[in-house]
Amino acid sequence: MAEIVLQVVDGLAIGSIYAGIALGLTLVYGLLRILHIAHAGVYVVGAYTAYMVYGATGSPLASMASAMASSALLGFLINRLFYKPLLDQPRYVPLMVSIALFIIMEELVANVFGHYPKGFHVDFLSRDIGLAGATVNTRKIVVFAIVLAATLLTWALTTKTRLGVASQAAAQDAETAMTLGVRIPLIIDFNFLLGSALAGLAGFLYGYYYGVISPFMGGVVAYKGLVVIVLGGFGSVMGAYLGGIILGLVEQVMTALYPDILPREAYAFIALIALLLFRPYGIFGRREMA
């Protein structure tokens, strides 16, 4: 029992970080249909910003806020400088640029801060408590709670505000939305700012949770994030959240049960291939008419 609780709590915490990353990806994908790999670079930069600011101020809140701000700005700039001019190109073109930007960001961070992981110990609600017979660190619960709150907020922003509703409409059908007076570029900026801030938050939470960050922490996550948004149905906020959580749980449980079959990182990709074979349009996706 205690073992199960432990695994589930870990799975939920890790899944929450995936969810934070996937939320941003899905906001971008829904509108631009760009597979935004560079999002993982934004996440890494957010983590290092959090690290620096925490070192300077010692304030967890300032650290988190600065991570979100720097990531938001970076994501915004990536869109303006790199994606916007490439929207008419074949789809693999912005994808290549996105991957290249990711490499550049990763390497710059590695060159500035060193290739090795850095200890990042945030002193905030980090205590062991008893939970259903297991000893659980409160950080895991905090991570889960913060991402859940951020998801609900994002969901509210995208379904309850005028801008959010317009954004949903634009994701469904950009042309119609435009003729109805929706200002698409504004919405794209809004989604990049919001989605990238969430990546920064996830970067901060990663450091907070593991107590360590590394320039290459975005490596596999960049692609797992894509898997999560496929699992959750492209463009859906709640879907991305659930996709992230489910992936975290599946990885945790499968690795605990069968440590020797495959590395934990593999499950995301297996899940994806299995899903696409049976539901080639995603869990919630519908077949599009020609």
């Binding site: 789809r91 692609y223 593999a266």
Partner: protein, 307 residues
């Protein structure tokens, strides 16, 4: 005076990656099927040949042939999957394929696990072991054969069918093209090139390990293809040359080499999204004008070509 070892190594690598990039051109450039996992096919070819030759002691020629075949089969399966997917899903699926292949290599001892496979033999002809310049010649010989095959495809009905599938599937089927079959073929053939490239690299280095086939290598190969022009045979080799040689050029910038590589991709894609030798590309037009000046221009009688 013998050519320095260093240049021979570079030339061999250009040939190997030229094969890989050429395969990607066929799948992506000609038939329009996104493949972001070409390094996975290199891995399948390399592992096949390494296991057969290093572990089972079969001749290298057989190993390379088996590498081609195994990549071809896996490529066909990938092609069958691709039929069901729209473009973005296919892109992500091929990425997932690459990751999975590498994880499997890493976790299973047949593939040497995290130690890899060493003592992979070099090919030999009549007791003479090919290494250095002679291995480079073998590589370029195989590249030449595969270029001939690509040319054959380009000028055949298959080439036209690929292009039709890429540009308009309904139109393709309206003229009798079996769209699905073409997608499977395009994937299988491109993967086969990848498998051969993988086997060539295994016998060149003598040692392979799972991390030699990680996703970033797929991106490197794709960069070669795009750089040269996704629809150009010569472009694939030019792209391979540039990507293989550029780290050497950037050597003084040592620690920023990978950054420069990223910048290279961005610059290329921004200023020459269709590659240096792709249709209507700047470099291509310059080259053709030059050749025409010497009376060597492509005198394609049926190509509606203006200038």
């Amino acid at each position: 005076m013998p050519i320095p070892e260093y240049y021979i190594t570079l030339a061999t690598l250009v040939g190997i990656y030229g094969v890989a990039a050429l395969g990607l051109n066929i799948t992506m450039g000609w038939a329009g099927q996104v493949n972001l996992g070409q390094a996975g096919f290199l891995g399948i070819g390399a592992m096949t040949s390494a296991i057969l030759t290093a572990k089972l002691g079969l001749p290298v020629g057989l190993g390379i042939a088996a590498a081609a075949l195994s990549a071809l089969v896996v490529g066909a399966v990938m092609g069958l999957v691709s039929i069901r997917l729209r473009e973005d899903f296919l892109a992500i699926t091929t990425i997932a394929f690459n990751f999975l292949v590498v994880y499997i290599f890493e976790y299973y001892d047949v593939f040497g696990g995290s130690y890899g496979i060493s003592n992979i033999p070099r090919p030999s002809i009549g007791g003479y072991e090919l290494r250095g310049a002679s291995y480079m010649l073998l590589t370029w010989g195989i590249l030449a054969l595969l270029v001939l095959l690509a040319l054959r495809i380009q000028r055949s009905w298959m080439g036209l069918a690929f292009n039709l599938v890429r540009d308009d599937e309904q139109l393709a089927s309206a003229v009798g093209v079996d769209v699905r079959r073409m997608k499977v073929l395009a994937f299988a053939i491109g993967a086969m090139y990848g498998g051969v490239a993988g086997a060539l690299s295994a016998h060149f280095k003598g040692y392979i390990v799972f991390s030699d086939f990680e996703f970033p290598y797929s991106i490197a190969i794709l960069t070669m293809s795009i750089l040269g022009g996704l629809d150009s045979i010569a472009g694939a080799i030019l792209g391979s040359f540039i990507v293989v040689v550029s780290p050497e050029v950037f050597r003084p910038l040592m620690q920023y080499r990978r950054v420069m590589y990223g910048v290279l991709i961005v610059v290329v894609v921004f200023f020459a999204p269709r590659g240096l030798l792709g249709k209507n590309a700047v470099a291509r037009r310059l080259l053709e004008r030059m050749l025409a000046g010497y009376g060597l221009g492509p005198g394609g009688k049926k190509k509606g070509e203006g200038g």
